[in-house]
């Protein structure tokens, strides 16, 4: 049944209810704030979601509960904000111009120099403080991975972050005290309608449901599907590509499902990294440090596991670890669904096994068997918020006889697609799990991969680091002496 149609998007901007009919599909939230609303506290530093100067909070109802998350306004499309609460730095000052606790702490600890990145830091720290009022170094660093400061060296900002709760209680913050009212407003905006705005090459749809999405895509199979916009956002801001017509999917509750059944975790396509973090890192601990190194907090709040798969990048961070786990992918077209091995989805560079009108619905991730060794590591130039040079994921079972009985190994950054190391796997299978076996298998990499040189790494380095990750994996499973990785953990 065709849902009701609506020709405007509705959202809250700070304290104001907004209904907008004149929205372009590729209009960014940042341009809307700065150009149309003259809210110029939110800055443009890079227009690609890397510097965080444009950080704002977006509140949304997730399963009925209001969640506020920091996002990059520069690559977030305005049209994706239906039934959301956008909070900008202008909303923070209290009565009589009193500074917000986050702001006062930043002032008192000399957390700004040139000040251009500062509103973005304030917003990221605000989000952190609301969910963790007494954060430690690790939590602060994680919260600030998506914010660049070129002046301070971060030390005063971290000190300010630790001090915020001394200036006020997060529970007394307006975003906490007004939860019920905002929740009710947003719930009222979520009216179950399909939003359609514009026509021809200037058109977008916000479908009412997953079924509606399937119908919309069948009708307009050449639509650009936009979930978190952490990639498509750059098509617009950097490449000025025409993406219309656009179908926005990030708001669909049905596509945010996370469940585990019979040892298989199913992540629906629009589950964000942040949403996936809990179950993946609990059930498969290797994901903890891996997901923490994908983008910054803002990107993890926006970017989706399904989007990372569907866009087919050879350097996406989710496919290799999922392929090593033997994950499968469900695609849907109309009412028809098919499920394929995730590795088969990637055909070649820029080419995936997705038909026009079809969309990624969910990925199914088998939890490794109890006796399996599993690890996944990425190698980058800068530790955090950097794009992978090489990423290796390892799933190996060693039998009671000390021999390798199962091996699934996959890499990113080593080929035109995320790709299994089948020759390396073969070199391990049936062999004793020893350093000589591993070293022999390291010689097999040349059969599986011929990486390229680019600005992230040379082919030589990629190959060497990739091989050495297998050695690291062996050392981790065999209990080598001393640390085998550098660590950001602090001594107790």
């Amino acid at each position: 049944m065709q849902p009701t149609l609506r020709n405007e998007i509705r959202f809250l901007l700070n304290g104001e209810e907004i209904a907008l009919a004149d929205v372009r599909p590729d209009e960014t939230l940042l341009d809307y704030l700065r150009l149309r609303r003259s809210l110029r506290g939110t800055k443009e530093g890079c227009a690609e979601g890397d510097c965080g100067a444009c950080t704002v909070l977006v509140g949304r109802l997730a399963g009925g509960e209001l969640v506020y998350e920091g996002v990059n306004a520069c690559i977030r499309f305005l049209a994706s904000l239906d039934a959301c609460h956008v909070v900008t730095v202008e909303h923070l000052k209290g009565e009589g111009g009193k500074l917000h606790p986050v702001q006062q702490a930043m002032v008192d600890f000399h957390g700004s120099q040139c000040g251009f990145c500062t509103p973005g830091f304030v917003m990221s720290l605000y989000a952190l403080w609301m969910r963790e009022p007494q954060p430690g170094d690790a939590a602060i660093e994680k919260a600030l991975q998506g914010n660049l400061c070129r002046c301070t060296g971060y030390e005063p900002i971290v000190k300010a972050a630790k001090a915020i709760s001394g200036y006020g209680a997060a529970a007394a913050d307006p975003l906490a005290t007004e939860r019920a009212r905002v929740t009710a407003s947003l719930a009222a905006m979520k009216d179950g309608a399909r939003v359609e705005i514009g026509s021809g090459r200037d058109r977008f749809v916000v479908p009412a449901s997953a079924d509606d999405l399937a119908a919309v895509l069948e009708a307009e199979p050449d639509s650009t599907i936009v979930a978190g916009s952490t990639d498509v956002g750059l098509w617009v801001t950097k490449h000025m590509r025409d993406i219309s017509p656009v179908v926005f999917v990030g708001h669909l509750d049905e596509l945010h499902g996370v469940e585990e059944k019979d040892g298989v975790i199913t992540l629906s396509a629009c589950v964000t990294y942040t949403e996936a973090f809990g179950i993946l890192s609990n059930r498969i601990p290797a994901f903890r440090s891996l997901i923490d190194r994908i983008g910054g907090e803002q990107v993890r709040n926006m970017g989706t596991v399904g989007g990372n798969i569907a866009n087919g990048s050879p350097i996406g961070d989710m496919p290799p670890p999922l392929i090593a786990l033997g994950a499968t992918l469900t695609l849907r077209k109309g009412d028809a669904r098919r499920t394929i091995a995730l590795e088969d989805f990637f055909i070649d560079y820029g080419k995936q096994d997705r038909a026009p009108g079809e969309f990624v619905e969910a990925v199914h991730v088998p939890v490794p068997q109890k006796d399996a060794y599993y690890a996944a590591w990425k190698v980058t130039k800068r530790r955090d918020e950097d794009i992978t040079a090489a990423l290796g994921a390892f799933n190996v079972v060693v039998g009671a006889d000390g021999k390798v009985s199962f091996a699934r190994i996959a890499y990113g950054g080593m080929a035109a697609t995320p790709k299994r190391a089948v020759t390396v796997e073969a070199a391990l299978l049936g062999q004793p799990w020893t350093l000589p076996t591993v070293e022999a298998a390291m010689a097999a990499y040349a059969s599986d991969y011929a990486p390229i040189s680019d600005m992230r790494a040379s082919a030589e380095y990629r190959m060497l680091a990739a091989k050495n990750l297998l050695k690291r994996f062996y050392l981790e499973t065999s209990g080598a002496a001393g640390r085998i990785t550098v660590s950001r953990e602090w001594a107790a």
Binding site: R40, C51, V107, F116, L148, R150, G153, M455, A481, G482
Partner: protein
């Protein structure tokens, strides 16, 4: 009698005077988003937007240029090419006429501006830019000086030679000799606020340009040249920049000039704000260098003679490459005495964007080359590099003449290093690290303590001047203006503190106002760490002139000797009575005393004869030292800075909070330069690292896990600078060298510290891993 409820007339000390830990004057506005950067200013009615069309080849001549589709694109009002510039097509700051605003006939780097589009919206301008059809006859090009004969390459500006003694002879006779080469990468400024200019046309020939610039006077001159109008027609103003770091010393010229030309041509205000990618592609960076060195030394590690050849990738024009490469030579000694030295620079032409000023201005590259030599000596002798460093320090009364024949008169490096070595427990940690490494196969640790001695003054003597303008209004409030610009470094608040101190009034009585060429003319760039030294003195000079008039007035009015007039906090003691400052000011006004003054300052003592390579180019030196400890992963080359301790001096600090901020921030920026910040050009001459997705500056999680920063509060400037303070902008940047040296030390551990790792910069994980592999091979492991 006026009431002064807000003013404390009994205070023992003013609020916010010199040495107060006053917060940044705009801190409140920063955190609320109310601080106005140029793109935040209310836009003039009818504002237009510009975008630059960039070349798509690295070198060649323009065969045909078809801009019809650009002109016809929606919203486009004008397309400017070189032929549309009414005055000179040149913005060369060196006077060598080698830098066109828009390419004319030939292009010399990939990304060189060829035309400009002016449209109703920024998006329209950007989209239209992509419609140009330009055909080039491509010519051979050079992007990397590594690929050419560096001793014979084409130069963009004359090289410099420094020599003292017979270096070749000393090296030849030395018991040990080592020769080597080091690559030192460049660095993008990555100011968070990109380049921007907003030009508003006025009557007659006038135009006002709001430019994010460290050098308003130069913008003024360039705009006037390109427009072909006198300087008096051009006013340039900047309240604040969102970061500069040297990247806005000359690089704003292009955007300002084009915005002004378009604004005058169309009679409407024009704003040009390049996208981050265009900004990083089309504006200059820190020079990368290839340093060839040869050193002769004795068994104890005393350097006897050294020879350096500093070859720099300068890009297609001279810009500031002359003084930058000069300063590299000025710092080829860091804190060490060379009995015999020969050092040459080679400012080489390349088909890349013209490199420019960046915090340290060549000094860091000079020092990094020098520290490599120290490491070579240490590893060759199996000694701790710190021992070699200390052995070669400048003396205080002898062994104290630099390669440029200036005597070091204020040397405190011994005390700085000794105190830091003690406080950070260098010796104990060195032992602990050795023990750790013995028991750890994969992760290795390293430590290094490196000193900094940095020369303060513009080496072009005439730049060492400054002006200020101070008005005292009849309510006793003060308007302060000077030629220095605020880029986040806290210059405005420091100078305001100096003025508040002079008048003995609370800091909030001093209004800091935007830098504008209309108030203080003929200023120097806010650069070379000179901001507070120069502008602080100029403002003090202006304040003192007014103060003297007030003293003379009070003395004559109250019939007392002048020495009985004393400025107390917010009041003035005149004989036996105390008069509130505003009241005295009001009385002076009524008596027709001038309450406004222009101040001026020029740095004494300095001189420099470049042809002879001799003189006294620096007024004084600033000192500091840092000790860093790192761990590296010998499987991937990834690393972590475990701890850094810094001891740095800023003389008698004007504001310790601001100075600490400069030290911490400078260190992290220097560390970024030497670790993860890598510029990569491809085989077409295209810069591939032109945005934060590909160019990686440090994050909060890259800073040292333990970070102890202290000011050497016993230090004071031996020269009579403003309140005996010292410059702080650039010197701490070079404290980042301790991280590179610590990484090198960790790498060296895989070969028992007997082989110099020759770790080049930036020491990315890739370079670290490859160095580890090389050393393992060399050591036969």
């Amino acid at each position: 009698m006026t009431k002064h409820e807000a003013i404390d007339l009994k205070a023992a000390r003013i609020a916010g005077g010199v040495a107060a830990n006053q917060r940044h004057d705009s801190a409140h506005k920063h955190v609320t988003g109310e601080a106005v950067y140029i793109d935040d200013m209310p836009e003039p009615a009818g504002l237009l937007h510009g975008c630059l069309g960039l070349s798509t080849v690295a070198h060649g001549t323009i065969r045909t240029m078809d801009l019809e589709a650009v002109r016809a694109a929606p919203g486009v009002l004008a397309v400017l090419t070189a032929a549309d510039l009414p005055g000179e097509n040149d913005i060369s700051p060196s006077g060598r006429h080698d830098e066109p605003v828009l390419a004319e006939g030939k292009v010399q780097f990939f990304g060189q501006p060829v035309f400009a589009v002016i449209a109703e919206t920024r998006e329209q301008a950007r989209r239209a830019c992509g419609l140009a059809k330009i055909d080039y006859d491509e010519a051979p090009f050079i992007t990397d000086v590594w690929d050419i004969d560096r001793r014979k390459g084409k130069l963009v500006t004359p090289p410099l030679t420094l020599k003292r003694g017979d270096a070749a002879g000393a090296i030849a006779k030395a018991p040990h000799r080592i020769k080597g080469t080091m690559r030192i990468g460049g660095q993008d400024h990555f100011y968070l606020e990109g380049q921007i200019a907003l030009a508003v046309p006025g009557e007659d020939m006038d135009v006002t340009v709001y430019s994010s610039t460290q050098h308003p006077s130069e913008i003024q001159h360039m705009v006037s040249h390109v427009l072909g109008v006198p300087s008096h027609a051009v006013t340039v103003e900047v309240r604040r920049m969102g970061g500069g770091f040297g990247g806005k010393e000359t690089q704003g010229n292009q955007f300002a000039a084009l915005a002004a030309v378009a604004a005058k041509k169309l009679g409407r205000a024009v704003k040009i704000r390049p996208d981050r990618d265009d900004d990083m592609t089309a504006t200059g960076k820190r020079h990368d260098f290839v340093v060839d060195y040869e050193v002769g030394f004795d068994d104890e590690g005393m350097i006897l003679g050294v020879d350096y050849f500093y070859a720099a990738r300068c890009g297609f024009s001279s810009d500031l490459s002359g003084p930058v490469t000069d300063r590299a030579l000025f710092h080829c000694d860091n804190a060490y005495y060379y009995p015999a030295v020969h050092a040459q620079s080679a400012p080489l032409y390349t088909n890349t964007v013209s490199n420019t000023a960046f915090r340290g201005f060549g000094g860091p590259q000079g020092m990094v080359g020098c520290e490599r030599v120290i490491e070579e000596v240490a590893f060759a002798l199996g000694k701790d590099p710190l021992e070699i460093r200390k052995r070669n320090f400048y003396g205080t009364s002898e062994r104290n003449v630099t390669p440029y024949h200036q005597t070091v008169e204020d040397n405190i490096v011994h005390r700085i290093v000794a105190e830091l070595e003690e406080s950070c427990d260098y010796a104990g940690r060195r032992r602990a690290i050795d023990a750790f490494n013995a028991g750890s196969e994969i992760v290795k640790r390293g430590i290094a303590l490196t000193p900094v001695k940095f020369g303060i003054s513009f080496t072009a003597t005439h730049f060492n001047q400054a002006g200020a303008l101070v008005h005292v209004y009849t309510d006793g409030s003060v308007h302060l203006n000077h030629g220095g610009t605020e880029m986040g470094q806290g210059l405005y608040v420091k100078v305001a503190q100096v003025v508040a101190e002079e008048f003995q009034i609370d800091l909030d009585r001093v209004k800091i106002t935007a830098t504008t060429t209309g108030k203080v003319p003929n200023t120097s760039a806010t650069a070379a760490s000179s901001g507070s030294d120069l502008n602080g003195m100029a403002a003090q000079n202006a304040a003192r002139a007014i103060k003297q008039r007030l003293i003379d007035f009070a003395a004559s009015e109250h019939q007392i000797p002048a020495d009985q007039v004393e400025f107390l906090p917010n009041r003035v003691r005149v004989g036996n009575q105390e008069i509130a400052f505003p009241d005295l000011v009001k009385q002076a006004y009524m008596a027709r005393v001038q309450l406004s003054a222009a101040g001026f300052y020029k740095t004494p003592k300095i001189h420099w004869d470049r042809d002879k390579g001799s003189g006294h180019p620096f007024y004084y030196f600033a000192y500091g030292a840092a000790c860093s400890e790192v761990s590296i992963d010998t499987l991937t080359g990834e690393y972590m800075v475990e701890r850094t301790d810094i001891l740095h001096e800023t003389g008698r600090s004007l504001n310790k909070a601001i100075d600490i901020g400069q030290i911490e921030g400078g260190f992290i920026q220097g560390m970024g330069w030497l670790t993860t910040e890598e510029l990569v050009w491809d085989d077409k001459g295209r810069l591939r690292t032109h945005a934060p997705s590909t160019y990686k500056i440090p994050l909060a999680s890259d800073r040292p896990k333990v970070f102890n920063v202290a000011l050497a509060d016993w230090a004071e400037n031996a020269e009579s600078t403003v309140h005996r303070s010292k410059a702080v902008g650039e010197p701490p940047f070079m404290l980042g060298m301790s991280v590179l040296s610590a990484l090198s030390d960790a790498v060296a551990s895989v070969a028992g510290h007997t082989v110099c790792p020759r770790l080049d910069a930036p020491a990315t994980p890739e370079r670290v891993l490859m160095a580890v592999e090389r050393l393992k091979k060399d050591a036969g492991r």
